[in-house]
């Protein structure tokens, strides 16, 4: 139990060196060791998607990984998107369409959607619903989130 492992993880472009217990969950590491509390915990068993972060660019559930598995890897969390003054186009779209209510699940949705939108600029509603199916939201019924994805797709897709 007293085993401690040194790890180096890059989160939102910042390199962190820490010594952690092997059983420390990645989400607890991000939230409580690094104080990046935008990533939330909803179920602790990999179903709700609330804790989704990008792991080397791909969405993962940080409640199903150990911090030591992130050694040498790059993580991106919601804090690595836009800022309050300059929101990411997806965050802007969420605001414009009222795609969040309590906002607890929202960071997970954003982190699932960022790579999805980058890879799939034009989407049908069915494809969007499929893409969201791994994230639970109890407030919105998903409808405004779908509107947000469509809007973000327009915002992000049009490039000169």
């Amino acid at each position: 139990m007293t085993n401690q492992f040194p790890i180096t993880v890059t989160v939102n472009g910042v390199r962190y060196e820490r010594t952690v217990e092997p059983r420390l969950l990645l989400v607890d590491f991000i939230r409580h060791e690094l104080s990046l509390t935008g990533t939330h915990v909803g179920c602790e068993h990999g179903v709700c998607g609330t804790c989704t972060v990008l792991f080397d660019g791909q969405p993962v559930r940080s409640c199903l990984m150990f911090a030591v598995q992130a050694n040498g890897h790059e993580i991106r969390t919601v804090e690595g998107l836009g800022t309050m003054d300059k929101l990411h186009p997806l965050q802007e779209a969420f605001r414009e369409t009222h795609a969040l209510q309590c906002g607890f699940c929202t960071p997970g949705f954003l982190m699932t959607l960022v790579p999805f939108l980058e890879e799939n600029p034009k989407l049908s509603e069915g494809e969007i619903r499929q893409a969201l199916a791994g994230n639970l939201c109890r407030c919105t019924g998903y409808q405004h989130i779908i509107d947000a994805v469509k809007l973000a797709s327009d915002k992000m897709g049009v490039k000169p």
Binding site: M1, E21, R23, L24, R31, H32, S35, L36, T37, G38, T39, H40, V41, G42, C43, E44, H45, V47, C48, T50, T77, V78, E79, L81, G82, T83, M84, D85, L87, Q91, F94, R95, E96, H98, L100, Q101, C102, G103, F104, C105, T106, P107, L110, E125, R129, Q130, L132, A133, N135, L136, C137, R138, C139, T140, G141, Y142, Q143, H144, I145, I146
Partner: protein
């Protein structure tokens, strides 16, 4: 004053913080020296505790303390009754048994998940490790799970000294049902079952508590819907003054009812422990605990009978039901009383016999969850309407229209006692208009005449349903608000209600911005901090926007009057010639003659000189609003579903809701509230059922086994807004938060029955599932 923001689709003030991960939720609170708590919870639904030995746990490195009931001494006591029993109802039976902080050795545990000990340690990981070190010697007892079994003479007793598992009995009568029945052409009776589900806010319950010994002050960050009531009750339990305790409900990740449960074991124990240890403590519930130890709802069985004339006029309704309150009943009769008062819905029912028994069972406590008893009443009524329509060969829309309270019959006395313990009165509404709107939106007649026959010819099972409902909302007693124009010219608004995603930071700001002529982004709203505002009740019963909203409106109007008075003096112009635009008070005809709110605020709070006697400083006002009684919202939903007869999966192809919540403050937010309610309604129709075995073990206590609707399960929801303003408040608003959840299960089963018409199903229960639907199909077609 011209409405500039109220009624508009204003994007939310709170969103930038939430979207960038900067919003503070309870689990984000991190204090120096903070300890972590974990609760040892019963694995048995019903057992006698012989002994609890925490010696090994106490000696584990990193463990600071382990407490059992024994350690609490005089602080151990059952919680307060949170809602009184409605003694205005004649011959009421109410046996009060409220929840306890921890089960005691020598006494019993009464549901799985009931706390028996709490570990306080240097980390959550260590605290959870130490739970396994605690040795509890238990004698398992037979559990009471089935509602009818609870009342059998030889049933195990949950509260031994009570001598019965009957928690309450209520009978209410309007007119004379038996006489009506004697005159009826048609009498239909059925048993209808509505099972349990959970609220499943994505954020589990959580607390951070900090006793400051020097200040003699307790601070509690809590995932609560009612911070002020929580402060009042927990401080009383702990024997400190209300003024020594501050409750902060920061951003809360969804409420849906259970977060208004107060004096929960965790709240009392953590408050007590931080005072004892003089160190801050955090406890964050995990999802499994949320299933086992957070309050939940539904769980009723109705024996219902409807009496009608041959042409479909309802003469009377008799509903006798049994309601499961779980192991304790801190919320008294709130839920079953709501069922009782929503069963008649939008219909004229001249004779109504409604009677219920509440039983204790060895399951988690039942308290309101979005809908709070209303969906059960609506499900029962709407099912009987469908059965009657079938029996009489009538169109489901027609039988509803025929029995509706007409638009000119308001205010309408319902003849029974309502959820605020006074005569239930519908304040306003136009129910036939909601039915007509929904009928048109879904294209009911065209579907039945043209589309459905075509689908049937193709071998597809596509059906339609329509269900109507009323929603008692915006009940008292009151809420308050304080509005202040600060010297910067920006406005501060503080209110006591908690916020769990309803957009109060925006809708309340809209009200203030219109009254005071400022930008909606310049109104800073604080909710849910007892140090900022300490009078109020809480966020429940779809009441925040209306009850607190009208208090906000009153406070802002009062500040506006102060502004105009000061400005009139400053500008030498009569008040009636002044207007407030863009933070400037100006003479309407001479706009260059103006003074800023900032300047007025400074003058209203001078640093030197004297003020007139009786002058209050600043441009500030605190006002309260309490409605005479609750405003009744209403609506009609309609949906088209397709059932795959191989898999018995149901796809909702179209969903419309025609809704009337009076004056709408922000249509964007109202749409969101409706969507969310519908999604819970769909969950409770087809996905979300808690499954207990005969030992009271919950078999599906995870999101892998208990299914919330996903994006692929939800239809696109079409909303039609209607507006009959409520005469009960100056803004004319009514609540909307629970609307979508209330009629959806009733509509869903009707549409499924209609889709499977050739299988001659009769669905008398909710929630369904593909498996259950398969069983029903098999049973109907042996």
């Amino acid at each position: 004053m011209t409405a500039q923001y109220v009624g508009q689709r204003i994007t939310r003030n709170e969103d930038p913080r939430l979207l960038t991960g900067q919003a503070l939720f309870v689990d984000d609170v991190d204090l120096p020296g903070m300890l972590h708590a974990a609760f040892l919870r019963s694995d048995y639904a019903h057992a006698r505790i012989k002994s609890i030995d925490a010696t090994a746990a106490r000696s584990r490195p990193g463990v600071v303390a382990v407490y059992t009931a024994e350690d609490m001494g005089a602080f151990w006591k059952p919680g307060p009754l949170l809602v009184p029993a409605p003694h205005s109802i004649k011959d009421l039976v109410f046996n009060q048994r409220t929840q306890i902080p921890m089960a005691r050795a020598g006494d019993k545990v009464r549901h799985v998940g009931e706390p028996m000990a709490v570990v306080i340690a240097e980390s959550r990981y260590i605290a959870e490790d130490a739970l396994a070190d605690i040795v509890v010697d238990l004698e398992p007892l037979d559990a009471v799970v089935d509602l009818f079994r609870a009342l059998e003479p030889d049933a195990p007793l949950i509260h031994d000294e009570l001598g019965t598992n009957l928690a309450s009995y209520v009978l209410q009568e309007k007119g004379n049902y038996e006489q009506a029945r004697a005159q009826a052409d048609v009498v239909i009776s059925r048993r209808i079952v509505i099972d349990r589900g959970v609220a499943a806010a994505l954020e589990n319950r959580g607390y951070v508590v900090q006793w400051n010994a020097r200040e003699q002050e307790l601070t509690m960050w809590a995932t609560t819907q009612a911070p002020i009531a929580l402060r009042n009750l927990v401080s009383a339990t702990l024997g400190i003054s209300e003024n020594q305790m501050r409750v902060i409900a920061p951003f809360v990740g969804g409420g849906f009812g259970p977060k208004i449960m107060l004096c929960q074991p965790e709240e009392v124990l953590l408050g007590w422990a931080t005072m004892k240890l003089n160190r801050p403590i955090k406890y964050i519930e995990d999802r499994r605990e949320n299933f086992l130890a957070t309050t939940m709802e539904r769980g009723q069985i109705h024996d219902v009978e409807i009496a009608l004339t041959r042409d479909g006029q309802i003469l009377g309704l008799k509903d006798v039901f049994i309601h499961d309150t779980g192991a304790y009943n801190p919320y008294a009769l709130t839920v079953p009383l709501n069922t009782q008062t929503h069963t008649m819905g939008p219909y004229e029912i001249p004779n109504f016999h409604t009677e219920f028994k509440v039983v204790f069972t060895n399951k988690m406590i039942v308290t309101p969850v979005r809908g709070a008893g209303r969906p059960q009443g609506v499900f029962v009524m709407e099912r009987m309407m469908d059965l009657a329509a079938q029996e009489l060969g009538m169109n489901p829309v027609e039988i509803r229209r025929k029995n509706m309270i007409p638009a000119d019959a308001f205010p309408h006395e319902q003849g029974i006692i309502g959820q605020d313990f006074a005569q239930l009165i519908y304040d306003s509404g136009d129910y036939p208009a909601t039915l007509e709107k929904a009928r048109q939106m879904i294209g009911y007649d065209q579907f039945v005449k043209e589309e459905q026959p075509r689908f049937r010819a193709e071998g597809k099972h596509v059906g339609i349903g329509v269900a109507c409902f009323t929603e008692g909302t915006a009940v008292g007693p009151y809420e308050g608000a304080r509005v202040t124009v600060e010297s910067s010219g920006k406005v501060s608004l503080v209110t006591g209600v908690g916020t769990q995603g309803q957009g109060h930071f925006t809708s309340f700001a809209q009200i203030v911005a219109d009254q005071l002529g400022v930008d909606v982004r310049d109104v800073r709203v604080v909710t849910g901090d007892t140090a900022q505002f300490h009078w109020g009740t809480g966020t429940f019963a779809s009441r925040g926007a209306t009850v607190a909203g009208n208090a906000v409106n009153a406070a802002a109007a009062s500040v506006r009057a102060k502004i105009l008075k000061h400005a009139s003096k400053a500008l030498g112009a009569p008040e009636k010639e002044l207007e407030i635009v863009n933070g400037q008070v100006r003479v309407a005809d001479i706009p260059e003659k103006s003074i800023s709110l900032s300047e007025l605020a400074l003058r209203a709070n001078p640093m030197r000189g004297s003020v007139e006697p009786g002058t209050e400083p600043g441009l500030e006002s605190t006002q309260y609003f309490g409605p005479q009684y609750g405003a009744t919202a209403a609506g009609t939903v309609a949906m088209i579903v397709e059932v795959d007869t191989d898999t018995l999966l149901v796809e909702v192809k179209r969903f419309v809701i025609a809704h009337d919540c009076g004056t709408v403050l922000n249509p964007l937010i109202v749409d969101g509230q409706v969507h969310g309610g519908v999604s819970m309604g769909i969950g409770q129709s087809f996905y979300e059922q808690l499954v207990y075995d005969e030992n009271g073990q919950l078999l599906n206590a995870s999101f892998a086994d208990y299914l919330l609707p996903r994006s692929t399960d939800m239809p696109h929801i079409e909303i039609g807004h209607l507006c009959t303003p409520s005469p009960l408040n100056p803004m004319g608003s009514k609540g909307v938060g629970e609307a979508g959840a209330i009629p959806t299960p009733a509509c869903f089963v009707q549409a499924v029955e209609n889709a499977l018409a050739d299988y001659k199903l009769e669905i008398l229960e909710t929630p369904l599932s593909p498996n259950r639907l398969f069983e029903l199909v098999q049973a109907a077609n042996p």
